[in-house]
Amino acid sequence: MTEDNLIKIFCNSLKIDAKDVNINSKSDDIEEWDSLAHLTFLSAIDKETSGEASKIENLGEKYSLKEILDTLNKNNL
């Protein structure tokens, strides 16, 4: 998963303008990123990775794009 790809998934999933997001964005910074949005985003990542992302135990506990990207990459996704 590349940085650009993750941001694109995030913006499409939550209908957020890409100009308002960067790889350092965190849930605290983005009003729309609430608990429902978080699950929706994780579901979108899972779809993109053909179900592999949901096998990562702690991915749901990451609340910044950078952390999520790092976790995906560590798991070879």
């Binding site: 999933s13 939550l14 209908k15 429902l36 949005a37 699950l39 929706t40």
Partner: protein, 257 residues
Amino acid sequence: MLQSAKDNIKNKFLSEGYCIFNVEDNELIKKINYDVENLLNDKKFKTNTKIYSYNESPRIVESYKYSLNCKALAKHPKIKAIIDYIFDDDAMPFSTINFLRSTQQPLHSDYMHFGTIPKLKLVGAWVALEDINPNSGPLQIVPGSHKWEIYNFLKNDKKPPSSLEEVKKNYTEYEEWVVREMNSKKINGTTPEMKKGDCILWDANLLHGSPECEDPTLSRKSQVTHWTFNSVDKHYNPSFSNIDKNIYQYRNLEYII
């Protein structure tokens, strides 16, 4: 409260899915209304997810984090005592929403937002913070609907939603299902008269909402708190879970302590 009164409340809740009593704490309600006004003036509040909003009136979530008075109502000892008695369990509050006006939300059940294992261990406690004007879009309930089947968002092997648009689409399908069920069962909602301090407890799967509003400019101040139980093993988000296949998207709740 007399034992007979407690038993009446419990029987009403178990048979019809709701009960109403007064918290008898007008001083607290006065302070809450003052605090909520200040939160609004200071713009110091979080709002509910937009896809569950049906008008422009903000729903203030987690007011208890900013107001000790909202918190006191959220964990009010009289409300807890009654829920504990009905369920013979240790009830725990975990979320609040303060409403200024009618939600104008179609009939729905809270169990479509918070699932529990074991199932149906959830209660909503809605408290009127003023006498509710019948034209303000008052709360409607469907007595007995708590015994209906639990709707499955992901039936027929539907995949979990991967966008908020899909979440909304699935939720709209649920709302349409409720309307069809109401029509096929030939039942209508009822509107209980709610005075300041009246608390309605509704069961996990009881349909409620405010679909009919004559004058959306009228205030309808209220606070709802959701309660779960110490005996609950897991909580899940129904929008992302397939209950027929025991596939759950678990969630952690933040209890109000």
